[in-house]
């Protein structure tokens, strides 16, 4: 009837070959590209933050006065100016500052004259272990829960659970932490409330940290799963006899997870931020508490070293997530033209 009717070509040829010759760029090469991009971003960030700190400290007042503290007299101020090169022009100071930065020389702590970077490295392992535990716990709980909630969002039980998750999302970590201490340390006396005293001490800080971020991940995963379950490929799989579990776990979840890549990568950043408060609440001997103490005492060499290490750690984690997803998500592997 239409023009195609008279077009009786054999089916075997000619077949359109638009994309047949396209080759995907090897994952290794793309990994290298991602790394390069991330390292550039990191350098930009470090440069920005250190410059910000440098000028903030100088614009808001006399850094020598800050360094000398409230007890410093005129003589001491002069001494400090000389010692830190604060009597030189601003631009020279900035140059010296950057030069030392490149060598990772942050100076020594004003409080106890220890090497600032050394102090930070001392605290690093516990803090980052805490963050990694919370990150893992968060994903282990959030992904199945989110998948369950999103698979049939109209069921009553799931609606109730979703409401609970929504309320949980509104409870900041420091409130969870205080409630946990109140319950498990003060009332029940089961868990130690301060410091790192063995395995039991990890439970409450890790829970506090994970609990604050988990609801958000649950909600995003659940929304993504709900959306994926309405996709055409789910209908195709159903039409081929796939059962509910296959549809959810083998078809919908992977798509839902890949849709949450950015959020999962950003979790590390959120968790590091949250760990600062968590460490203060639980008097945890970590980097976060060191940062807060140094900020309170205006111990800038330590502050700067801590901020640097945090930035590097977060970037490392985000880049790692990027690369992992590059291996998981076929759509990210770009075509060569």
């Amino acid at each position: 009837m239409t023009d195609i009717a008279d077009n009786n070509k054999p089916a075997s040829q000619p077949i359109e070959t638009e994309k047949n010759d396209a080759e995907t760029i090897p994952v290794a090469k793309q990994t290298a590209q991602t790394l390069t991009k991330r390292i550039l971003e990191l350098l930009f960030l470090l440069m920005f933050i250190s410059t910000l700190l440098f000028f903030l400290l100088r614009l808001t007042g006399d850094p020598a006065a800050v360094l000398a503290g409230e007890t410093g007299d005129q003589e001491q101020l002069e001494l400090i100016r000389k010692q830190y090169g604060l009597d030189k022009p601003l631009i020279v100071q900035y140059g010296v500052f950057l030069y030392k930065l490149v060598q990772l020389d942050f100076g020594s702590s004003l409080a106890n004259a220890q090497d600032a970077l050394g102090l930070v490295f001392e605290r690093l392992p516990t803090s980052f272990t805490l963050v990694i535990i919370a990150f893992t716990a968060n994903l282990i709980i959030s992904i199945p829960l989110g998948a369950w909630l999103g698979s049939r969002p109209d069921r009553t039980g799931r609606k109730l659970a979703a409401t609970a998750v929504f309320v949980a999302q509104g409870i900041p970590g420091y409130i969870t932490g205080l409630l946990l201490i109140q319950l498990f340390s003060v009332e029940l006396g089961w868990l130690p409330s301060i410091g790192n005293q063995g395995i039991l001490s990890w439970i409450m800080p890790a829970t506090t940290l994970a609990a604050f971020q988990a609801p958000q991940v649950v909600r995003v995963i659940s929304a993504n799963v709900a959306e994926a379950m309405r996709e055409d490929y789910i209908r195709t799989a159903r039409a081929n006899g796939a059962g509910f579990n296959t549809l959810l776990w083998r078809h919908a979840l992977k798509n839902a997870m890949l849709g949450a890549t950015a959020l999962i990568g950003a979790q590390v950043s959120f968790l590091v931020g949250g760990s600062i408060i968590t460490e203060v609440i639980f008097a945890w001997p970590g980097l976060g508490r060191l940062l807060v103490t140094s900020v309170q005492t205006l111990d800038f060499p330590v502050v700067q070293a801590a901020v640097f290490m945090i930035a590097i750690f977060v970037y490392f984690a985000i880049t790692l997530t990027d690369i992992v997803f590059l291996f998981i998500d076929p759509r990210l592997r770009r075509q060569r033209a």
Binding site: L42, I49, G170, S269, F270, V272, G274, I277, Q296
Partner: protein, 297 residues
């Protein structure tokens, strides 16, 4: 296949129907938020009586305590014998005010930078994107902590610092959405007619971004409220004597063993405010989804 979609009734666009706004979440959120804000008025009605007498134990009154002169302390009193309910109400302008000012900054700066990144190509866009990507990775609390330590405590330093740091996430979303809007036919038509850059951005692109900005502003209000309280909790936010909710939580932590009730009023206030703001954000998101669907049909 359109049979299924045909059963969807086209939803009214942002129209206020007889009761509420058409979104259950938004209704609930606005209601809760109204309660929180109306409570603000109560602070002028009741005088803050602090009774610096006796020892700590006698000043700390548990929840529901009725004093000899008949004053009922629903949430108990703090270490200075001040009624916690009224202190929480007094903290409203601090906690909501600081995060409110910050969220306005976030919305304005985030939208502006996002639009700039979307409009320009080349070096400007690269710098904007690089900056956004880099800043998002830096834990917000860490940055705020460091800057506030230098610029000092107080309402304006705190709110402006948060406003000038937190815009990155907003600008990323605005950037992505503006790029989509800039490819629409009506924008192309406007460009062909020689409409100026700012006219296009303000009159053609910005209106399309309004739902997104509303949704993000509501969620960021909640996030900033949490951050403000966190900073105050760490002793680096509102001035130490200000009744900011974070400060009150910080106080309560010191008396956790002898006066566990001290945390309930400020914690409840924070949670209530955050939940209501999240509800408002969800409600806006739902309404804009409904409207998008109504336009499609």
């Amino acid at each position: 296949m359109t049979t299924a979609t045909a059963t969807d009734k086209p939803a009214p666009a942002f129209r206020f129907n007889k009761i509420g706004t058409g979104s259950l979440q938004l209704d609930l959120g606005l209601l809760l938020f109204a309660i929180v804000v109306i409570a603000l008025l109560a602070q002028w009605v009741v005088l803050d009586e602090s009774a610096l007498d006796g020892n700590l134990r006698t000043r700390l009154k548990p929840m529901g305590y009725i004093s000899p002169d008949g004053v009922r302390h629903i949430f108990g009193t703090d270490q200075l014998g001040r009624d916690l309910l009224f202190r929480v109400l007094g903290g409203l302008p601090w906690s909501l005010g600081i995060s409110g000012v910050a969220v306005v900054c976030v919305a304005v700066i985030g939208t502006f930078i996002g639009l700039i990144g979307a409009w320009y190509t080349g070096v400007v866009r690269t710098i904007v994107l690089l900056g956004i990507a880099a800043m998002i990775a830096m834990p917000f609390l860490v940055l705020a902590l460091v800057v506030v330590a230098v610029v000092g405590r107080g309402f304006w330093p705190l709110s402006l610092t948060m406003g000038f740091i937190a815009w990155t996430a907003v600008s990323r979303v605005i950037y992505a959405e503006s790029r989509g809007l800039l490819t629409r036919e009506y924008v192309l038509a406007a460009r062909l007619f020689g409409v100026s850059k700012w006219s296009i951005l303000i009159f053609h692109v910005l209106p399309g971004l309004r739902p997104t900005i509303l949704v993000m502003a509501a969620f960021f209000f909640a996030v900033l409220l949490i951050i403000e309280s966190a900073l105050s909790f760490l002793g680096l936010g509102a001035p130490l004597n200000a009744p900011s909710w974070g400060n009150m939580l910080s106080d309560s932590r010191q008396y956790l063993t002898i006066a566990p009730w001290m945390m309930f009023a400020p914690a409840g206030a924070i949670v209530l405010a955050v939940i209501s703001l999240n509800l408002i954000g969800d409600g806006f998101a739902e309404l804009s989804r409904k409207r998008a669907r109504a336009v499609e049909v």
